[in-house]
Symmetry: C2
Subunit: 248 residues, 2 copies
DNA sequence: TAAATAGTGTCTCTGAGACATTATATT
DNA sequence: AATATAATGTCTCAGAGACACTATTTA
């Protein structure tokens, strides 16, 4: 997942073979012998996107094992979620299959299931839920922005992923009063066109537990339909090519 | 996991075969063809303990797949955590292998790893962490007590799993002010010997999110070494026999 | 200058922490 | 009566929500 053009997006691949030929799917592949899951996830991510792994938050989420989830044979998927900052010009992958960043709202927004191949709708929904919860209790939001970043950029991560407005002052107070969340660089950024005070810049601190958590409105529906302005500094079209995911 | 004799205990089986012959292990087995993970976990639980599944909270935790975790071959374990109330006299299993409830502190208390077979120390530690966190943010504590229960019993669940004192009044206020956490039956329990006011009794409500969460002292070490008095009503020796876990 | 954005301050209110107090039982 | 436990009340304080205000840039 990444934040691009003010939206939460997922990297998906378009399947080139049956089953689900032509449908979007979460990239993945088979774990090698003598390879652990995390290494496998990193390897697949590199193959698909050539993303620089060092700056990536990668985490195991959930394992999917319904017997009929792949019509060909029984396949078990261990789902991993990677949080990556929006990159300007990621290198293309080595393979011929089409991969692209797709807005999450395009897929989960419609209530009809079956947009993605296999049970990947469910997986994606779980991943988004997980990301939302993680922002509440831990300082992972920094994984979505490139360093150095302003607090407005960091706040935008919360607003986009939660689909909720977050108060400037309160957010600032919380972040800065949490030891280790961010580290001030001393630099100041350049204001956006249209004007504005140049923001203080920060780097990510340690991965820290937020206690008490940052609360979001628990209301089921987003309080804030679609009047989002684009997010500062977080922009740039993103497309990559990688090989088709072989397995669900 | 269950709470028994005022302690958090795990059901473990003693391995009858190499590798790790004679060591305690988390019960488990292979998933059948055309069986999903949850059903497999329930089946294994029944085989080991004959526990009545209906009252059981069962949840997938994490998946372990290091290539060398089983010396015989590569085996992937999808870990499930079951929270069950202490039962008075569970039926014995069908198999000859020894199974028993072991206090978690006996295993994780000592800092030396390698008490359990395979990487089960790690799995157990993850499970306990997960249980601790779940109590903070959701109303699962009710899964540990038999209905109807008093608020003191419910509070004891928190105290035992967190190894921390929890204030009577504040706990009460929080639980009762959370809609759906517990439902009052109208009955009153009998006081314990030694005297006391008969407590109001409750049943578990819906599984509800605690927002804001119940906070525990985030300090790493338990604030409260070992001066625990036994827990009210939650008692009764527990032993069961089941077949040896075939796989890690 | 107006507009836009970043940073700061302040008032209030919720809810948790830390008690004290009352109620109802056993011994 | 002494003791034990359950239930209730109360004072205080940390921290979030809401919002106003100041600072510094571009157009």
């Amino acid at each position: 997942m990444t934040i691009d053009e003010g939206q939460l997006k997922v990297l998906l691949v378009k399947r080139g073979q049956d089953p689900y030929k032509g449908r979007w799917a979460i990239p993945g592949g088979f774990v090698h012998e003598n390879e652990n899951f995390r290494d496998a996830a990193e390897r697949e991510l590199v193959e698909e996107t050539a993303i620089h792994i060092a700056a990536t938050h990668l985490e195991q989420l959930h394992t999917y094992g319904e017997p009929d989830r792949d019509p060909r044979m029984r396949v078990v998927t261990v789902g991993y979620l990677a949080l990556v900052p929006a990159l300007e010009a990621p290198k293309a992958g080595t393979n011929a299959r089409c991969a692209d960043l797709v807005p999450v709202s395009n897929i989960l927004g419609s209530l009809l299931p079956g947009h993605l191949a296999f049970d990947h709708d469910v997986i994606l929904r779980d991943a988004v839920d997980q990301a939302r919860t993680m922002l509440e209790t831990c300082s992972v939001a920094t994984a979505f922005v490139q360093e150095p970043f302003s607090l407005s950029q960091l706040r935008a991560v919360y607003e986009i992923i939660w689909s909720q407005r977050v108060d400037t002052g309160n957010f600032r107070r919380k972040v800065l009063s949490t030891p280790g969340f961010v580290v001030r660089t001393g630099e100041r950024g350049t204001p956006r066109r249209g004007g504005g005070k140049p923001p203080d810049l920060y780097r990510a601190g340690d991965k820290v537990r937020l206690d008490p958590p940052i609360r979001r409105l628990t209301s089921g529906s987003p309080s804030w339909p679609g009047d989002r302005k684009p997010v500062p500094q977080v922009s740039g079209q993103y497309a990559a090519f990688g090989r088709d995911g072989v397995s669900p």
